[in-house]
Subunit: 478 residues, 2 copies
């Protein structure tokens, strides 16, 4: 019996039922499990290690751009959420409330943070006195809670992990620059670490963050043609600063409210990389976040010298900075091949008695299924090169897929057909909320972003046909 | 006017009012601030970076001993807390309860995790089937909540950050070995990273973790003679495994409950290092967790070439792996000296026009106030040596202080006098709860640990005078 075909059957057909494919993959590869409370997830070690690599790469970039980490409390007084009018409307309905400690009722209800603008602004109002205290550039790694009735692991869960940057500046110009700088950091991270190409731009009024002046976003296309908002960067103007009375004494002796930004990415990124790169066999992990970059499979491992040689290889690879391990479990080689394809290890290395005789190992790439032979003495030099090449190839595929799935549409028929064909739609829009709502109602697609490049592709609104000067990407989304 | 003396006055006299000294130091050095909700703290960038270094050093050790990180949900169904009888008694009164989402009441109240044994056991009961799944070695970095009415930053706060290891084993022997192994890891970390000597041993029944068979602890002496429980490691037996029905099929075909451990340290460690090392001038940070290990102070920084040379020095130091920075603020050199003494930078390096002429810099150690001159060309080699020497000296001081403050006592008069003299008491104890309670009631001291070395120092209980064979450390504690 063909073990491969048996195995593949355990994962739902990604073309027929993409959501089930996703669920099968995240559960069977032990990235994640459902928590006991509805809407919650447990991030298992294999999934959490991906997050650790994401964290370490992002944290370095956040620090290199001058930010420092801090930690603010989980509990926010309910009254704080109320201070910024749009903000409370956006977050109150899904806010988890702490009302009691043991048997004692609290005097004021506490919100479990859905995002930290309010509590951070409260602290900033104590810390900031003078223009000398600005810019204030702080980031936080934390858990946040936004209630969900159903669980889509990594994509929609009541609790998730993220980083949130919160900065204050003396001028609007500097704050707007910061907002775009961090969007740029995110985009570079997506390319060089997750091997995902994205579209960037600004959100519509309808889709922006509750309380922001402008929300910038990066949107990634998933293999089912849906968009995943992978990260956002908000220019908050002085909305929160004035609500929370953050004031500094400027050089001219006047008290002023500073300009503010916030920006974040979350464990959603793990969902993004699964749905941007996976295939019918399971995960296809980008090498730079893969917990196991090269798995060494001993062939005929009971034979003398095989395990020893496999372990030697792993030691040499680790020495070269590669995350490598042997799979010495009491299972067939075929089972292990399938297992590690499903788990998405970028590179598989086989070593058996005959290979040892010839002083070579056989490698197999997860991205192209290309196989090759490499001399044992060269392996520590060759594997890092292969991993870089796999990364480049995966990014190219992601970029090709994205650009191959952008369809320019002139009317609603074209738009509907393009969305049904699992595409992003690029279209002109008049800018009115009614058209945005109508498109959503008819097709379930939303305006994902107004790209920075606003070169018109027509002059009439895709929806109402009236004069239009805005270029927008529409897509169904996660 | 002597700037030093003016400056020192801003921090309360540590001999007269140690708690106020502590509060002054943590606030004035901007390690921490009070959050808006009673009992909560904000860990500011200077404090959080200490935590980041603690995390990275501990995380490496936790992984080197075979554990993997994961993340479990913040919210635990209240019913879970009830499953282990001792556990609920210990944690329910201080448990924060989520009862509503928006305006909707939840069907079951949720506990914001005070510790994660219950929810982790629930997941383990799904994951563990066979002896092949064991040992299961998982660690989590997370925030936890245990309600407090007052705030002592880092020491007692409603929310704090920690790591909690949770492991399962097939035999009692292996689980007990794990419990002690992790205590050993903690003790080694305290010595080699925080430069703090500790006493280790087992807790009395009264003082053990709610639900444990045995709790092992490390206790550090603070400069006021009080003990700070710096980390604990629990052997849980099969208490939780049977309550949560964790069962595995053993080699002999029988279903069995595994043996369990849990162990943790928290942001309390920051409190420990402040109170173990500080002095009247402020913080004295152990070099291996200091955010700034060497601060370079330009003297006459307006003079040509001074700032450039100072920055060159910092670049050379960074290159040598030293966390260095210049202080270029528009303040006097004296002000900066005081500032960085208060902030506890282990090493200060001064460079001015005359030093540049002579191609030297002047260094000053925070631990001994010893000064020296070093050739600019040697500085990248010399500073790491100096930092190691500062570390060793700080550990020696900590160890001398600990051992110099252990007083052997034979009766209650001796015990009371020793405690009044800010000491740890080593004494014989009959083992009965009544004596333990009586000592607590009379002196506010508790049994901190039964040390591993139980060589008797007498044969009568320090409290009741009856025959006693247990050696115990008593102390007041945080």
């Amino acid at each position: 019996m063909d073990k491969d075909s048996k195995f593949v059957k355990e994962i739902a057909d990604m073309n027929a039922d993409f959501p089930q494919w996703y669920t099968d993959v995240v559960l069977k590869t032990e990235l994640v499990d459902y928590g006991p409370v509805k809407g919650t997830m447990v991030i298992r070690p294999y999934g959490y290690e991906i997050w650790e690599h994401i964290q370490s790469e992002l944290d370095r970039r956040i620090k290199e751009t001058g930010h420092k980490n801090a930690y603010f409390p989980l509990f926010i007084p309910l009254s704080y959420l109320m201070k910024e009018a749009e903000h409370v409307e956006g977050f109150a309905p899904e806010a988890a409330l702490v009302t009691h400690v043991g048997n004692t009722e609290l005097e004021e209800k506490l919100v479990v943070r859905p995002t930290s603008e309010t509590i951070i602004c409260d602290m900033y109002s104590k810390w900031v006195q003078s223009y000398r205290d600005l810019p204030l550039l702080i980031n936080q790694w934390a858990n946040v809670v936004r209630w969900e009735k159903t669980t889509r692991p990594f994509l929609r869960t009541s609790e998730f992990l993220w980083q949130e940057g919160h900065t204050l500046h003396t001028t609007e110009e500097e704050a707007r620059e910061e907002t775009l700088k961090m969007l740029g950091v995110y985009k570079e991270f997506m390319k060089n670490i997750l091997a995902i190409d994205v579209i960037t731009g600004v959100k519509t009024e309808k889709e922006k963050f509750a309380g922001a002046v402008a929300t910038y976003t990066m949107e990634a296309i998933m293999l089912d043609g849906k968009s995943l908002q992978a990260g956002t960067s908000h220019y908050l103007g002085r909305n929160f600063a004035s609500a929370f009375e953050i004031k500094y004494l400027d050089r001219d002796g006047k008290l002023k409210n500073p300009y503010q930004t916030s920006w974040g990415v979350s464990t959603r990124l793990i969902g993004a990389l699964i749905m941007a790169h996976g295939d019918q066999r399971g995960l296809k992990l980008p090498p730079r976040v893969a917990p196991v970059q090269a798995v060494v499979i001993p062939v005929a491992q009971h034979k003398e010298g095989v395990l020893e040689k496999a372990r030697e290889l792993v030691a040499a690879l680790k020495n070269a900075g590669v995350r490598a391990e042997t799979d010495e479990r009491d299972q067939s080689v075929g089972w292990k091949f399938n297992e590690w394809e499903m788990k998405g290890a970028p590179l598989r290395i086989e070593i058996g008695p005959r290979d040892i005789e010839n002083s070579v190992a056989v490698y197999s790439r997860r991205d192209t299924h290309e196989k090759g032979t490499v001399a044992l003495g060269d392996i520590a030099a060759k594997v890092p090169e292969l991993l870089d090449d796999i990364h480049e190839n995966m990014f190219r595929q992601s970029s090709d897929f994205l650009h191959g799935h952008i369809v320019e549409c002139r009317d609603m028929d074209e738009l509907t057909a393009a969305l049904d064909g699992r595409n992003f739609v690029k279209a002109m829009w008049c800018g009115c909320r009614e058209c945005e709502d109508a498109i959503k109602a008819e097709t379930a697609a939303s305006a994902r972003a107004l790209p920075f490049d606003q070169t018109p592709i027509g002059d009439k609104c895709v929806c109402c046909g009236k004069p239009a000067d805005k270029v927008v990407y529409f897509a169904k989304s996660y």
